[in-house]
């Protein structure tokens, strides 16, 4: 966004109705020298301190995880985007995303790191008053203190505002007495500071409190036994008239739910970054294994069935990554613009992030499901060894699964994607009505048979993406019209609409990234990336068609359904394309480089 032309900046969710230009997005091939050095530091940290100790970490060896957090803190990795006045390095959002991505391959350590530097630190940084920030942030940034976040309760997970934890003022007015039970609390075993959500008296909404581990009335349950991320400390935290000084109320009374939601917006896109980092590492392991393992006298990487898997792992990861850094740049520029208009930097950051909450939810779903695909095929490529606890795929497979559950389940995030889009339309922030009506009109007209258009390198893909938008607008528009208030209850339809939006956003992101990359390096140097883009968009068309059909069949009838089905076909039509050859090209590059190399 150019500060002098704020109108030209694309708003959150606006990707559905507006075109984005390739030169306006950020792509990971643009990292500067300093950012690459920071990335190297993260990679070296994992290689030297984390990866050799994964088994010890998973056994929860006493003191090991907090020690690793302190080591990361000594390198400055816990304070990347914290302002310098609070002991951080004041780096931009993309840089902190890069750190999250690079440390994402650290299994349970990554979870501890993300929880500490995200939900463990940011509520205080963003909502704390000066005294609270001065007291807690420098210690959290250095790793001297570790942070945790207590929102979920046994009876309230996705429905966070329904928690039973309560706080009441002590008779002398000096303390809040906090009572309740919190569950699945990451880092609980070694955290020094907890951000705890509870309702004061009979308030309608949550409030947030900063609770230190030594406050009287706080106790911890034993470690949970989990499917994966076994090295991450996960416990229940009990508060029994826990004495929290009144000055430790975070922000205002009843502001807790807003804090929780806003912090989750950031957490979601960050989770995307972490899972992409993890995917890249798993792909590298899979490629190396496929190059070494021989069957029938040849390395298994010579076989098409394996090549398909390697290519598909890389294509989905590359696509997810494209979306992550595109949205990160949007968030950062929106924040900068808000600062320029005079808003306090921290408020600007929250508002800038919130504006792209739709994109954050999309990314959370896509990146976590990509990692699940990558680890699943990773196990398959390893074959019998994939199922052995001696080989790395076992841990990767188990550790991946939580990503579809925490930071809002993927189902909640899918519903949010559609819900937020429609709410913004209702508020008049997004004009979905006009474009949707235009598409409805187009259904009646004669289809465009692709008359004389100048055939550029991206002409086809740009047209496909434009058509995907029409498909989403048509199905979503009809769903709103038909189901009205009932739409919120038709969760299956919401899931389908979300799937369409996700595939649209990611397709556009990979197209824009490759277009920008070709502009930087030339077509010849980007041949494999062009193949990745073409395969991704080709397959996205089918996914969008499938999801659209599911939705239309659920609510539309008669001639109207027929007409929309035809429209859907038209908007998701792609030319014949040899995806097999394209995937072989992608796999060949991975195999030659013996690692994830994009």
């Amino acid at each position: 966004m150019n500060a002098t032309e704020p109108i030209s900046a694309i708003k959150g969710g606006e990707f559905l109705i507006r075109e984005t230009t390739a030169d306006s997005i950020f792509i990971p091939e643009q990292w500067d020298e300093e950012q690459l050095m920071i990335a190297d530091t993260c990679t070296n940290f994992l290689a030297q301190h984390v990866t050799p100790n994964l088994a010890r970490i998973d056994e929860q060896e006493e003191g090991l995880m907090p020690h690793l957090m302190e080591e990361a803190g000594a390198l400055g990795l816990l304070g990347i985007s914290i302002p310098e006045q609070y002991g951080g390095f004041g780096k931009d959002f993309k840089t902190s995303m890069l750190v999250t991505e690079k440390l994402g391959a650290g299994h349970s350590f990554s979870v501890a790191f993300s929880a500490h530097s995200g939900i463990g630190t940011l509520p205080i940084l963003y909502y704390g008053n000066d005294a609270q920030k001065e007291k807690y942030i420098p210690k959290l940034a250095s790793g001297e203190w570790k942070g945790a976040y207590c929102l979920t309760e046994p009876g309230s997970g996705s429905d966070a505002n329904s928690g039973k934890s309560r706080a009441r003022l002590s008779e002398d007015g000096k303390y809040y007495l906090l009572t309740g039970q919190k569950m699945w609390i990451t880092n609980a075993g070694f955290a020094d500071v907890f951000t705890v959500f509870a309702k004061i008296d009979n308030d309608e909404n949550l409030s947030a409190f900063i609770v230190e581990k030594d406050f009287e009335g706080l106790t911890l349950n034993a470690e949970e036994h989990k499917m994966g991320i076994k090295g991450s400390s996960t416990r229940q935290v009990f508060f029994n008239d826990c004495m929290v000084p009144v000055e430790n109320l975070l922000s205002e009374r009843q502001n807790g739910f807003k804090i929780a939601v806003n912090i989750l917006n950031l957490g979601r896109i960050k989770l995307g970054g972490g899972t992409v980092g993890s995917s890249k590492e798993v792909i590298t392991l899979a490629v190396r294994y496929a190059n070494e393992r021989e069957q029938f006298g040849r390395p298994i990487s010579k076989y098409g069935a394996i090549r398909y898997k390697l290519a598909e792992q890389a294509i989905r990861t590359f696509a997810s990554e494209s979306a992550i850094y595109r949205a990160s740049e949007n968030m950062e520029q929106a924040t900068e613009h808000l600062i320029e208009t005079g808003l306090d930097p921290i408020k600007a950051k929250l508002k800038g992030t919130e504006q792209y909450a739709i994109e954050a939810a999309i990314i959370k779903v896509h990146a976590s499901e990509t990692l699940d695909y990558v680890v699943d095929e990773g196990v398959q490529i390893y074959g019998g060894m994939g199922y052995s606890a001696e080989a790395p795929m076992d841990r990767a497979y188990r550790d991946s699964r939580i990503n579809r559950i925490f930071e809002g389940t993927n189902e909640i995030n899918r519903m949010l994607t559609v819900d937020m889009m429609l709410k913004r339309a209702l508020k008049g922030e997004l004009d979905l009505m006009g474009p949707a009506q235009k598409v409805a009109g187009e259904l009646m007209s004669i289809p465009d048979f692709g008359a004389a258009e100048e055939a550029g390198l991206f002409t086809k893909e740009k047209k496909y993406v434009a058509n995907f938008k029409k498909a989403v607008l048509m199905v979503a528009g009809a769903a709103v019209q038909k189901l009205m208030q009932q739409l919120g209850k038709e969760q299956e339809v919401l899931m389908s609409l979300a799937d369409m939006l996700i595939e649209l956003y990611v397709s556009e992101s990979i197209q824009l990234r490759v277009e920008k990359l070709v502009g930087m390096r030339g077509e010849e140097a980007c041949a494999v990336q062009l193949d990745m883009m073409r395969v991704y968009i080709n397959d996205a068309a089918e996914k969008i068609a499938h999801a659209g059909k599911e939705a239309l069949n659920a609510f539309a009838e008669g001639d109207e359904r027929k007409m929309m089905m035809m429209g859907l076909k038209r908007f998701t039509k792609t030319d014949d394309f040899n995806t097999t050859q394209a995937r072989r090209n992608v796999a060949a590059k991975l195999i030659a480089e013996n690692k994830y190399c994009f």
Partner: protein, 238 residues
């Protein structure tokens, strides 16, 4: 030098290496041992100023700044291309003579051409004492006590400064650049020096790729005759 995972591709009729797309790294003997020990000496109040000197064109600057991210007061790039240890040593010695260092630390060898001679040549050109294959360096006032690896054992030397020491494993523990160092690297001075007139003593005629690794043959421990036969007829070592 090229990252160790780089796939080497030759060009110009095998007389040169194609560096397009190659990632360059600092020679690990320089980075992990010589530089880190220098930093430790400064942290202990023994060294006062650390200069990082390299010979190379502008494209090596990101690598020097990476070294500066670990520490050091300034970097010096002598603007020349050199694959010849005498030429490299000549450039460095010329600059070192001008500054007048008390201690010059180098890696025991570079991991690209593995010459292992630059350090000792610098010492010779500067008329300074030299200790190679150092595994431990202690400095007290004007005297260095250096342990070095020798065939089958270890030797401890004592030598007064000025001195050139070529370092290897043991001298220090590898460090990872921290955020403070990375951010400071940009602001630390990087001087570019025009090289002195030094003629190389060697020239590369051609490169050859190593032969592909042959497969491994497994012989059962019960079958000593087969092993002896294979060692005699195939490996031709007995």
């Amino acid at each position: 030098m090229p990252d160790t995972s780089t796939k080497i591709i030759l060009k110009d009729n095998d007389t040169a290496i194609n560096n397009l797309g190659t990632t360059f790294v600092i020679n690990p003997y320089d980075e992990w041992y010589a530089l880190v020990r220098a930093l430790e000496l400064k942290e202990a109040g023994i060294a006062t100023d650390i200069h990082l000197i390299t010979v190379g064109r502008a494209d090596v600057e990101p690598v020097i700044r990476k070294a500066l991210a670990l520490g050091g007061d300034e970097a010096v790039r002598i603007d020349a291309d050199s694959n010849d240890p005498f030429e490299t040593a000549g450039y460095i010695a010329d600059y070192a003579k001008f500054v007048g260092y008390d201690l010059v630390l180098s890696g025991k060898e570079a991991i690209d051409y593995n010459n292992g001679t630059t350090g000792v040549m610098i010492a010779e050109l500067l008329d300074m004492d030299f200790i190679g294959f150092a595994t431990d360096i202690q400095i007290e006032t004007n005297t260095a006590t250096v342990k070095r690896e020798i065939e089958g054992g270890e030797e401890t030397d004592s030598c007064t400064l000025p001195l050139v020491i070529a370092c290897q494993k043991g001298v220090a523990e590898a460090r990872i650049p921290n955020m403070r160092g990375i951010m400071a690297a940009r602001t630390r001075p990087l001087k570019v020096i025009t090289p002195a007139a030094v003629m190389p003593l060697t020239a590369v005629l051609s490169y050859e790729m190593p032969p592909a690794k042959a497969g491994v043959k497994l012989v059962s421990p019960d079958n000593m005759d087969e092993l002896v036969e294979l060692l005699h007829s195939e490996a031709k070592v007995i």
